[in-house]
Point group: C2
Chain length 287, copies 2
């Protein structure tokens, strides 16, 4: 029997999976992200046991998604130096001569939710990961929003909270969304682990304010039907409610939108959205 292959390539680990036509995960493996030679050897060994129709890759980035480019399928200027200029598609193609879909990790997660999750019945949706970094992807009528390159929404310019004097930790933009609201930014500001910051601490009001601005600017620019926030920071259960409240304050009645609880949501696939998305992308690429 033939299967689809998924590679969800994150900065900490690669999750590889085998899936069927219904995008069910049949087998999976988690491989630490070390050096390309080492990590990719394990990736190849995992897939060797199967006959694959196609493979879908969702990768940390920045990546080159321009099919006309000489470096299409590469990870480009990542701060993870071992992976800089890594020919991702090429290194897979060497062993598996099948169609390969290639996009960002966050676009893959979005596609998972779009295929089988909370964005299943909508025409347009945006997905953010708020974690070690902040990334975003958008889809409209089944196509990714992209142009010269993929979006980099995590570096959006937003207002800093009046009580926040944190200098920001983005090396390029200091107090952009990622510089103010990523996991490392939260911990650096508070001086303790995010999980140890109390629910009532004003840190969370600041973080909610930043994420709500991201949601509001997304609404103003794309007017999607759904905005999904995933990633480690969103594992704080109280945070989504705070984001909803800040979003309503920002909108101040200007736009007539769906109820905020159904509009700004968390992913619904138990952190499987990335691999399911990669399987879905593999399936589209095959067809």
């Amino acid at each position: 029997m033939q299967y689809y292959g998924a590679i969800e390539a994150g900065g900490t680990k690669f999750v590889c999976a085998i899936g069927d036509e219904a995008l069910n995960v049949i087998e999976r493996v988690s491989i630490p992200t070390t050096y390309p030679e080492e990590t990719m050897t394990e990736v190849i060994n995992f897939f060797k046991n199967y006959e694959l129709k196609s493979i879908g890759i969702g990768s940390f980035g920045p990546i080159d998604i321009n099919k006309e480019s000489k470096t299409y399928g590469y990870i480009t200027s990542t701060p993870k130096t071992a992976w800089k200029d890594f020919d991702f598609i090429g290194s897979v193609k060497e062993y598996f001569d099948v169609p390969i879909a290639f996009t960002t990790d966050v676009n893959a997660s979005l596609y998972g939710e779009y295929q089988k999750g909370i964005a299943k019945n909508v025409d347009s949706a945006v997905y953010y990961t708020i974690g070690t970094g902040v990334g975003g992807g958008a889809m409209m009528n089944g196509r990714y929003i992209q142009g010269l390159s993929h979006p980099e929404m995590g570096h959006m310019s937003i207002k800093q909270h009046e009580d926040d004097d944190f200098e920001g930790n983005c090396p390029f933009h200091h107090t952009c969304l990622e510089g103010l609201a990523s996991g490392p930014a939260i911990e650096k500001r508070a001086g303790i682990k995010a999980k140890d910051i109390e629910e009532q601490d004003k840190t969370w009001d600041m973080v909610a304010y930043y994420i709500a601005q991201a949601a509001y600017n997304t609404t103003l620019m794309l007017s999607p039907e759904k905005i999904i926030f995933g990633g480690g920071v969103m594992h704080q259960d109280h945070l989504l409610d705070k984001i909803h409240k800040q979003f309503e304050i920002l909108n101040n009645g200007y736009l007539n939108l769906p109820p905020v609880e159904t509009y700004i949501v968390k992913p619904s696939l138990n952190d499987d959205q990335g691999v399911i998305g990669c399987l879905g992308l593999a399936q589209s690429e095959y067809k």
Copy 2:
């Protein structure tokens, strides 16, 4: 002979035009925006002399562009009370039973530049009008970016300049892009007419900073091939250069982009982009 009709409906004036297959403007008229009955009577009288294939409307807003909606083709919650809930398509259809395209004024201008102007050979472009208000539209592979509704980019949340203590003049969001950088915001801050503010005045550095943030957030969210800034405020010849400089500072080498002079540009059709866009939309609607 049959022609295409264009209605560029602005808050101050309506420009109506007749065009041929090559989207050349054959005749035009400018009509003050007063009350629907009065203005529309003049609009209808202008078109009565021609046999029309179809009509393209680019309207001030907000407007209802959802074809499934009962109020499709209406101007909705505009502060211009006489035009609130005005059935624009219906009032034209009553006299001309031809296909009618309906979009925002800024989307029409974008389409003009996309058809015959500075965005002619690109797959994705964004157009902002910085004038009495601030509006934006985006196109990707020949389709408008929209979802629940059309974009409202003018109300984007951005950082306020450290030397700017202006309270902003957007009734909903105070210091959003429009609240800080529209024509009225510039004049209220300076206390004099925009045309009387000297080129070296720091007002323009602030305005450039705000418009550059709009451009940068647009790049991060949509990654278009071209960003176009039109509208009255952009008639200040020195401003574009200041925006370019601020944009480079904001990017700080993070994204690899085309030269800023070819990436962030002004419209190229001598303020005809709106009517040409409406003619183009009429043509697509007919086909």
